[in-house]
Symmetry: C2
Subunit: 684 residues, 2 copies
């Protein structure tokens, strides 16, 4: 304890930098950084274990600013402590290609752990970071070698507290007894619509108590540095519960408009900025001033952090001598390298092998690879038996006191909480030692759209095992049958959407999902059985598209994915026998990967001069990119046994053939250009 | 009170019907109906006010089964009480085109209020139904005329309790003190993954207490009919809080597997089904047996309900004499008819009118029409000032005790809870007297994807005011800039996605959204100013697409939406001056509506023989339907002042012209068919 004028100076420097940066950008959110500066100062200067010169040190404490609109708070701290972020970077706040975008983006800025801003996400990411820590600690720590000991700290505001994704994650964290997770709730009574009285009057601490969290309240969050410190220290002592500390603050502390919505999302007026500087003993006419004392105070802390890492490095070296294999594993996983030869474990299939549902083929992959890939950690949003996500001898990731599992367990019971599952997976991936996967029905990946988008934007290798991928799920009906889902995620940049047609394609999907370290994947898998295709191999399928049935002088190309590829294969014979038409069949399990192949390859699969028809039992949106005509389902499905549902919508050889004939007729006398041929390159 | 053998018989009949129906379908969820039959029996037979012969009576109590997979519970009750649902319909459970789909779908089945199954949705729908009731009561009730007095009852299970959307809605309901809302929590300790101990160990009642709900617990939910009745009666007395009654039940009560996950989602084995029938005094070899006594018991209750409605009808008749205008309004709104001439209030613009952001043009519409359309009830997910959703003299919908508004207020503070806002809007719409709208950033409509999908599936007239619709929002950056969002919702059946280019198009979007009684809408609106276009009129825009600039012997058609239409207009001159190319410009603000026009019209807008280029600052996915080449953004955006962001991605007249020239070159010597010309009709 023992806070001095220097602490106050540091806190006020952060506040004023936030004022100056939002004023210069004429955009942004000064209020949260100004209110949170005291709590953040105490957290960073007294507790957070980090080395600004080594921001990827694996045992660093993780810090997440879930109310990402307050990012200047974090940018200022990163700069002041000596991360690779200059004062000029702060001055470039919210400018094109700066290191200081409007919300924190992982990858753009040294020291940013996860991308936040979309409210509630950071909260759930922090739960994921804490899960990853607990699991890694159980796996890697040995007697005398506490290699993985970090805490995860997060700050969240009213907005995050209102979001369902955070509620879900909070319930999960309470169940999991994550004692390594400490959150500060910025209770400033303001959100964009004004006083939270108008919409958010619940008792937040009581709610967290109900979830099983340890709860505390610091009433004078603007000034009571000792109180904040004591609360964090207490939270660290509680090992069997996550902790939340409600810190009551004044948004825009120091502004004439403090405590009102007026300081939330707009730069302050010039006279207001000047009076704040004056009030805090700064020159009202100067901008972006950092007193040398503040740099000194913080560099002292940074040096302590560097020393802690140095000591840890020595421990790690000894660990490397005494626990050679674990040490090698830790380095391998940190480097995101998969073990040599792991891919030989992937199941392969011959056309004579039995038909199987791709959800079960996915299960076979997990069964085959989980031992060689200990970084795989996954679960399901309460659909384990339907998603087939659990290998036979899996151990649950559970607090040992429950008697249901261990910290080293690799199967996570996410509960019926798809959105937080997605955001928790982002956090697990961001920790740096795991590859998370999560199961739900494809239709309910949409519940998690907010998190899925951030997997893509922040380049997290997250895998969705999305079963029951179409009307082929049958009786559950339209409420559960995806129509728009694949179009949605195909339109999302940096997302691999896979819809494998058989066993080899399923293995290929996993191969690409696991080896693409910067790209998340959604594997759309069937409930119903699929035959093993001719010409399907892992090597073919990892190109994203290939020819299943080739034919000389074909009249038409049928291009399809998943369960409809074998339907197209069945149609070929009918077209020949009944209509004397020759059809080729192309499987296109992943557009994103197919698009990445060279043009020559793509044209060999979708050649010029042959009309093509796409066949997929969902929205046709986007299929115009790969086909001249489209057979799909631009309406909702139906409840019934799946074969009858297919029949109702004419997804039968006869129904496909009818449309193939119409397509051939329509293009009679025209040699259409391949859809692969374009006038210019897309911006990607 | 005073329960007899007849009550027990009724309860067991429901249980056995659920067993028989799932067995016949060999699919479905017997467990929940078997466990919930006692609570549902008490609720329906003692409390629920309804007339099975008049299921659209406006003052009926609403019942929502949020755990929709337990729908046989509801189907059986509807049949037994005499709704238009026969025993044969029950036998057709989960069959194609039956009235008894795998999850309850509003519109398919008499007496089903809302579509449930996707977990958490029904819970939030019920909050919406209660909001609508409270608002309508305040508006229509007069001294001596309690016309609108109904309660909303809902049942939810562990799955719903885990979903964030339900948590959000629960917080909102607590804040709003909805005393007319009573929920039963089916505490059976089982979800699909087994005992809830593995993932859901929070204290649910304490959590609801934190939200401000009245809480009760009935411990013997399988047998304690008096306890259930007393709890519901008590809940009805609590007028200033929503109520939740935790009823501890045994899933699959009566089965050999009762209390386990084994009875959740599968039909029972034959011997198990037989022993249950024996246990409950039924013939083990007979199926679908309903004792006459049960029909009698329930028809007595149904007759009471009919009498209540008859009395109400008499009251309504008197009301019509004494409050003629209100009476006429009530009937008009119930018929979903807008008042004569309302559309004359829609703002119109001339090209000389000032440039304006479409979010402000939307505000102008709301300002202009809110008085003539009292059924409009809306709000924002804590972005009121950004979404411009609040007309100047609006009153908040708030409990009067807060001093912040009234029950008759029409502006709802949804909080940062987009998903529940969507689901609550579905409930408000389903009540039958309102048109709900809700504001958030377009990017965060994705948080509500689960609810948006159900608006479409269940034909609810819900309007999303989705501002900040693109990279044009500028500084907030990629975390907030939609890329995939329009593709997602364009792929959703029965959803109108509007992206208006100016004032008249914005008015047109509202016109269509308000008059399409069975279709929800998303209005994608800009943050930045847009000029008023030549040739833009409401009459043109309500066709979904029209020609903004026509030209004889054009070299190219530029087809676009929203903020990029005026960019295309600017490009026309550049193309002429610099490249001697003649361009037409087409605005396509709503694909869904354009697709509904006749082919002749569509071909007049997108004619044969002219190559076309689409221009929209987001994913190009789907634009291949309306253009030969596409200029878009198949990557994430950037944080910076919006004009610079546009420039970075070449969305400038020069950037568009470059691609237009490439398109014209690419199609030199080819007279391409219009994309409107297709080989066959889509299934819609
Ligand atoms: Ca706040
Ligand atoms: Ca349950």
């Amino acid at each position: 304890m023992g806070y001095t004028k220097d602490d106050e100076l540091a806190i006020n420097t952060i506040r004023i930098l936030a004022v100056d940066a939002t004023s210069k950008a004429n955009s942004g959110h000064p209020g949260a950084p100004m209110g949170l500066a005291p709590a953040a100062h105490v957290l960073f200067n007294k507790f957070l274990s980090f080395n600004p010169k080594s921001s990827s040190w694996i045992n660093r404490d993780r810090f997440v600013l879930s109310n990402g609109h307050g990012c200047l708070l974090q940018y200022c701290l990163l700069h002041l402590f000596g991360y690779d972020l200059s004062l000029d970077d702060i001055k470039n706040f919210r400018q094109i290609d700066s290191k200081t975008p409007g919300h924190p983006e992982m990858g753009d800025t040294d020291g940013i752990e996860v991308t936040t801003g979309p409210l509630g996400q950071g909260f759930a990411n922090a739960v994921g970071l804490a899960i990853a820590q607990a699991n890694a600690a159980a796996e890697f720590n040995q007697d005398g070698f506490d290699i993985i000991t970090n805490y995860t700290y997060a700050i969240f505001g009213d907005g995050c507290a209102m979001e369902g994704v955070a509620s879900e994650a909070a319930s999960t964290a309470g169940h999991l007894q994550l004692g390594n997770l400490i959150m500060i709730y910025d209770d400033n009574h303001i959100s964009i619509d004004g006083d939270t009285n108008c919409q958010f009057t619940e008792d937040v601490l009581k709610r967290f108590d109900a979830y099983g969290w340890h709860i505390q309240h610091v009433e004078e969050g603007n000034t009571d540095l000792e109180g904040i410190e004591a609360a964090i220290a207490k939270a660290k002592e509680v090992k069997d519960k996550p902790s939340v500390i409600k810190v009551t603050t004044t948004i825009g502390y120091g502004s004439k408009l403090q405590g009102t919505g007026g300081v939330h999302g707009n730069a302050l007026k010039e006279d207001d900025a000047e009076q704040i500087k004056e009030k805090f003993g700064f020159n009202p006419k100067e901008h972006f001033v950092v007193p040398q004392k503040v740099y000194e105070l913080y560099s002292k802390r940074a040096a302590e952090g560097a020393a802690v890492e140095e000591k840890w490095n020595q421990l790690l070296e000894k660990y490397g001598q005494q626990h050679k294999e674990l040490h090698a594993e830790l380095l391998r996983r940190q480097a995101q390298k998969l073990p040599e030869g792991w891919e030989k474990k992937l199941p392969t299939y011959k056309p004579s092998d039995k038909a199987n549902a791709s959800r079960k083929l996915s299960e076979a992959v997990l069964e085959a690879i989980h031992e060689v890939l200990p970084e795989l950690i996954g679960g399901s949003a309460d659909l384990t038996g339907s998603n087939n996500t659990r290998w036979k001898n899996a151990t649950d990731f559970q607090p040992p006191s429950t008697g249901l599992g261990k910290w080293s367990g690799r199967y996570i019971r996410y509960g019926v909480r798809e959105h937080s599952m997605g955001a928790i997976m982002n956090g697990i991936s961001a920790y740096g030692l795991h590859i998370p996967f999560g199961g739900t029905f494809l239709n309910f990946v949409s519940y998690a759209a907010g998190a899925v988008r951030l997997s893509s934007l922040s380049h997290e290798r997250v895998i969705w095992v999305a079963t029951h991928d179409s009307i082929g799920l049958g009786e559950d009906g339209p409420t559960h049958q995806p129509i728009e889902t694949l179009a949605h995620f195909r339109a999302l940049p940096n997302m691999m959407v896979w819809r494998p047609a058989d066993g080899n394609e399923t293995s290929a999907a996993y191969y690409m999902a696991l080896t693409s370290t910067k790209t998340p994947s959604i594997l759309a898998l069937t409930r119903q059985n699929l035959p093993q295709l001719e010409n399907s191999t892992i090597a073919h399928a990892i190109k994203g598209g290939y020819t299943v049935i080739e034919a000389e002088s074909a009249d038409i190309t049928l291009v399809s994915t998943g369960s409809e590829v074998s339907l197209c294969v069945d149609t070929v014979k009918l077209l020949k026998d009944k209509h004397n038409l020759t059809a080729r069949v192309v499987s296109l399990p992943c557009w994103e990967i197919f698009d990445a192949q060279d043009k020559e390859y793509r044209l060999s699969i979708l050649p010029d001069g042959i009309p093509s028809l796409s066949v997929e039992v969902m929205s046709t949106l986007g299929w115009e990119r790969y086909s001249h005509e489209q057979f799909g389902l631009n309406r909702f499905g139906a409840s019934g046994p799946y074969k009858e549902v297919y029949k109702k919508f004419e997804f039968t050889p006869e129904g496909v053939a009818k449309r193939a004939v119409a397509t051939v007729d329509f293009y009679k006398g025209v040699k259409p250009r391949s859809p692969v041929n374009r006038a210019f390159q897309q911006l990607i």
